[in-house]
């Protein structure tokens, strides 16, 4: 039951993009088509889950064990950058078809702030948990996967809306980014309807 609450909370109530403002760059950048949005979401889900597990273990067994928690930011960003490279190399060898699908999006992920953001939240145990649950590796991983699903949901919904926007008659000054931001605002408003569910 508790895990279900974590999932609903992270996907709908505190959506990573629409209510916590992490990962806005890919949200605005690769949301012109539903296909690319799906590819980006898959890549993010994959890296986010892996990165959360690895950074959590590093935090517990390296940073806290040796009392050097102040190096967190430095270590995490290096680990994420290396991980993305590693995933790219492995995918290329093991599953060329998956690499074809995710390839272009992987390098972009290093600077996606939702990866580092979630890694820091989980490592510090400061993410939202239902009452009575403790922050540990399992809840952290469930939270990371749910966050990635929330990211995917927001991205795909937004891409669908933007595909329709091409047929709309938009005032000249609002063309491009401004209308995209207004659309995102309306989408965020829709997601606000979930607040209070969990």
């Amino acid at each position: 039951m508790g895990y279900l609450l974590i999932i609903i909370g992270a996907v709908f109530v505190n959506n990573i993009v629409l209510s916590q403002f992490l990962g806005i760059c890919p949200f605005l950048g690769v949301s012109k088509k539903v296909d690319t949005a799906l590819g980006m979401s898959a890549a993010v889900t994959f890296v986010l889950t892996l990165a959360t597990i690895i950074t959590y273990l590093l935090q517990k067994y390296v940073l806290e064990a040796f009392n050097i928690a102040y190096l967190q930011t430095l270590l995490f960003i290096l680990v994420i950058a290396a991980l993305v490279q590693l995933v790219e190399i492995i995918l290329k060898k093991v599953s060329p078809s998956l690499y074809q699908a995710l390839g272009v999006f992987l390098p972009l992920i290093t600077t996606n702030c939702c990866i580092l953001g979630v890694a820091i939240l989980v490592a510090n145990g400061t993410y939202k948990l239902p009452d009575g649950m403790e922050a540990n590796l399992l809840t952290g991983v469930v939270y990371a996967i749910a966050t990635a699903i929330g990211f995917a949901l927001a991205l795909v919904l937004f891409a669908g809306l933007r595909e329709q926007l091409r047929f709309a008659n938009v005032p000249k000054a609002l063309e491009g980014t401004p209308i995209a931001l207004l659309t995102a605002g309306l989408l965020a408003m829709a997601f606000m309807g979930f607040s209070g569910v969990v």
Binding site: L18, S19, Q20, F21, L22, G23, I24, C25, L28, Y70, L71, Q72, T73, L74, I77, L78, A81, T110, T111, N112, C113, L116, G117, I120, L121, A173, L174, T177, P178, I179, A180, L181, L182, A184, G185, L186, A188, M189, F191, M192
Partner: protein, 194 residues
């Protein structure tokens, strides 16, 4: 003369938020009030100036292939310094900005300026570029924060301009961030073309 030009370039012509559309996460996430927006802008400015200076000094020592990881390490080091200083001296602001302070590492503005400017120019000009771009970012964040605070609660920098009951609370919440920024960019677009 060139020095002034570099600073103005960052403030107006290449304003990171309104023109280059970089660093959107902190722009949306920390501008629920004018003071929050300004603190975030100044924090980013500090990292930007320091990292620009150091990167322009080490640019000839770093092999081309590994330059990005090296730049990221420099930036991350300054972010850690900033984090510790803020936690010690301004704990209240550190608490409100929260996650967005460590996330300056992945702010595209900082890495973008390192790659586009500091890696090609000397330390003095890089520092000026850091100041210009940083102040441009601070200006944009403060403006957006002030706009959201005013529309949402009727205050600017906690100074009451009209009673709170007339404000539209949605501007302080998440959707208001997107909408306010959308209209601000539209206004800037209109002004640039006119």
């Amino acid at each position: 003369m060139k020095s002034l030009k570099i600073i103005l370039n960052g403030l107006i012509k290449e304003n990171p938020t309104f023109v280059l559309l970089l660093g959107m996460c902190p722009t949306l996430g920390t501008t629920s009030s004018a003071i929050n927006g300004m603190s975030m802008g100044l924090a980013t400015t500090f990292v930007l100036i320091c990292s620009n200076i150091v990167i322009s000094l080490i640019k000839n020592l770093v092999p081309d292939k590994v330059r990005i990881p090296c730049y990221v390490v420099v930036i991350a080091a300054f972010v850690s310094v900033l984090q510790m200083c803020m936690e010690a001296y301004v704990p209240a602001i550190y608490e409100t900005l929260g996650l967005f302070i460590p996330l300056i590492v992945v702010n595209c503005i900082v890495l973008g300026r390192a790659e586009a400017f500091a890696a090609k120019n000397n330390a003095w000009y890089s520092a000026l570029d850091g100041i210009g771009i940083g102040l441009g970012f601070t200006f944009a964040l403060t403006l957006l924060g002030a706009m959201r605070e005013l529309l949402g609660t009727g205050k600017v920098f906690s100074l009451t301009l009209f009673p709170e009951n007339y404000g539209a609370l949605v501007f302080v919440l998440a959707p208001g961030a997107f909408i306010a920024l959308g209209y601000l960019i539209a206004i800037v677009n209109k002004m640039r073309k006119a």
